[in-house]
């Protein structure tokens, strides 16, 4: 039984990570096609990718959209969570539900909806439009994480701060936010990784300035190449770094 459970564990991990491993392995292919057999090790596709201006510009766009939209989603999610956790409003259960609802809607639907709204209101398709889309998908996430982290512990500390003369803004900035910092850091990095990988919203809402996933998609249209594998490996690396960074920061804080 013990052996079987280890085998099962190994299979489960293989199932999850095999595609990524294959992608990374063939990004080092010394040949023109990222398919078996493996013809030898080479950095040349990485060299090509890192010197491709189009890709590098798209990478900059992705980073910009990810950080700005995540910061905005976090700020809004934190404020909403704080309000709904502290103030008893009529229909607060409904308000909470509606805030989390976009999580259950497919990105395609959100993208189509936004596309329609932007066309009607004359907002041009751009990185800004894609950024707004990413705030829409990440706000529920940030809200849910911050809301779950708010306990009586914080509530009592906030009450004490008010008793000692703090105004509402001071309570938020000096007490609530620092006490919630681990949850907020986690929410921010998760949002960054989601925005970083997101394709469909970015594809539909950008036009001339595109994000990295959109640029990769246009690369794929011209056929398979180890270069796309190399880009994929780099994108994956960034996500891994973000997640590890989050774990380290959150664990440090928790201790």
């Amino acid at each position: 039984m013990r052996v079987l459970s280890w085998v099962y564990l190994a299979l489960a991990y293989a199932f999850v990570f095999l595609p990524v491993v294959v992608l990374v392995v063939f990004s080092f292919q010394d040949g023109r096609l990222p398919v078996p057999p493996f013809q030898g090790f080479s950095w040349r596709w990485y060299d090509k990718v890192l010197n491709d201006d189009g890709l590098m510009v798209a990478l900059g766009h992705s980073a910009l959209v990810a950080f700005v939209s995540s910061a905005l989603a976090l700020a809004m999610g934190f404020l909403a969570a704080h309000a709904l956790a502290r103030v008893r409003l009529p229909g607060s259960v409904l308000l909470r539900g509606v805030l989390i609802a976009p999580m259950t809607v497919s990105y395609l639907i959100i993208a189509l909806g936004l596309l329609r709204v932007f066309n009607q209101t004359g907002v041009p398709l751009s990185l800004w439009a894609a950024g707004i889309g990413h705030v829409v998908i990440n706000l529920p996430l940030c809200f849910a994480i911050c809301y779950a982290a708010m306990g009586d512990h914080q509530k009592n500390a906030e009450r004490a701060a008010r008793d000692l003369g703090a105004g509402e803004a001071q309570v938020l900035w000096l007490i609530s936010a620092p006490m919630l910092a681990p949850a907020m850091v986690a929410a921010f990095f998760l949002s960054v990784t989601f925005s970083w990988d997101e394709f469909i919203i970015a594809f539909l809402l950008t036009r001339f300035e595109v994000t990295l996933p959109v640029e990769i998609w246009s690369m794929l249209r011209s056929g398979l190449s180890p270069a796309t594998n190399a880009v994929g490996a780099l994108v994956f690396l960034v996500s891994v770094v973000a997640v590890v960074l989050m774990e380290v920061v959150v664990f440090r804080r928790a201790k």
Partner: protein, 332 residues
Amino acid sequence: MTANVSIRGVTQRYGGALALDGVSLEIAAGEFVVLLGPSGCGKTTLLNLIGGFSEPVSGQVLIGGRDMAGVSPAQRPTTTVFQDYALFPHMTLADNVGFGLRMRGVGRAARRVQAEEMLALVGLPGRADRRPHELSGGQRQRVALARALAVSPDVLLLDEPLGALDLKLRRAMQDELKAIQRRVGTTFVHVTHDQEEAMAIADRIVVMNAGKVADIGPPREVYLRPKSLFSAAFMGEINQIAVRDGQSALGPMGAGTGVLLVRPESIGLTGGLPLGDCRVEDAAFFGTHVRAHVTPLAAPDLRLTVHLPQATATSPGDVLTLFATDPVMLEA
């Protein structure tokens, strides 16, 4: 630095329930008042009304003669020590204690000096750069006290501050609390359900029950001359003997009709009020006294709890002639 508190006909409701029912109370400047009662009696509700965390449905709260209606906790000359301490975990002790001063615009250096002074006052000198999680429960309570006192409030409110501490630490802290109150001279309003704690620290005890004041007075008076059956029983064990027109099952007692109250330690082998012969049901040695349950021969249905002197040797079945001192008659 200190102010009187005047509570006039205050009523408070939560949902449909009456939490406070027309409570009036005068607290003198510099007084140490303890609100005592079982949970749900309204003592914490009253404290919240003084601190400004809620507003009464009707009635007035005045601090230093000023009506506090519509004044937020931040604007009131009160601070609170909370039961769970509510320290700021991300700040050093100096920043915790100096927080109120920071909100009042005091500069960093001056805050630091005052915070260190306050920490020394509560017995934590030289710990300014520690964080709350490095401290024990008793030490955190001291920091909470220092933080609340740092802004020199006129009235300090304490919401069961010793409730989370073990008994030994609680007894030590209550002596210290009393000493600190004498030193700073601030009016202290302290909530507890522990009558021993109340007697140890209070200038005056306010016994509360079901949203009303059941008794009020110095510890000695509330204990020995209770004005209600509730406060008599809440302050400690008490024997009740029914009296009708000056007559009880044990012979003539008191005057009028009502209940005669006698503390267990006020019953002994000598005294002014004879209780007649009593049979000992059980007896146990309690260190400071011998605690026994006895039944008067004249009234087999009555069971009295008595504390006999330490040296008394008695066992079940013995018949003792007992007397009461300091009986209190509560007229019906």
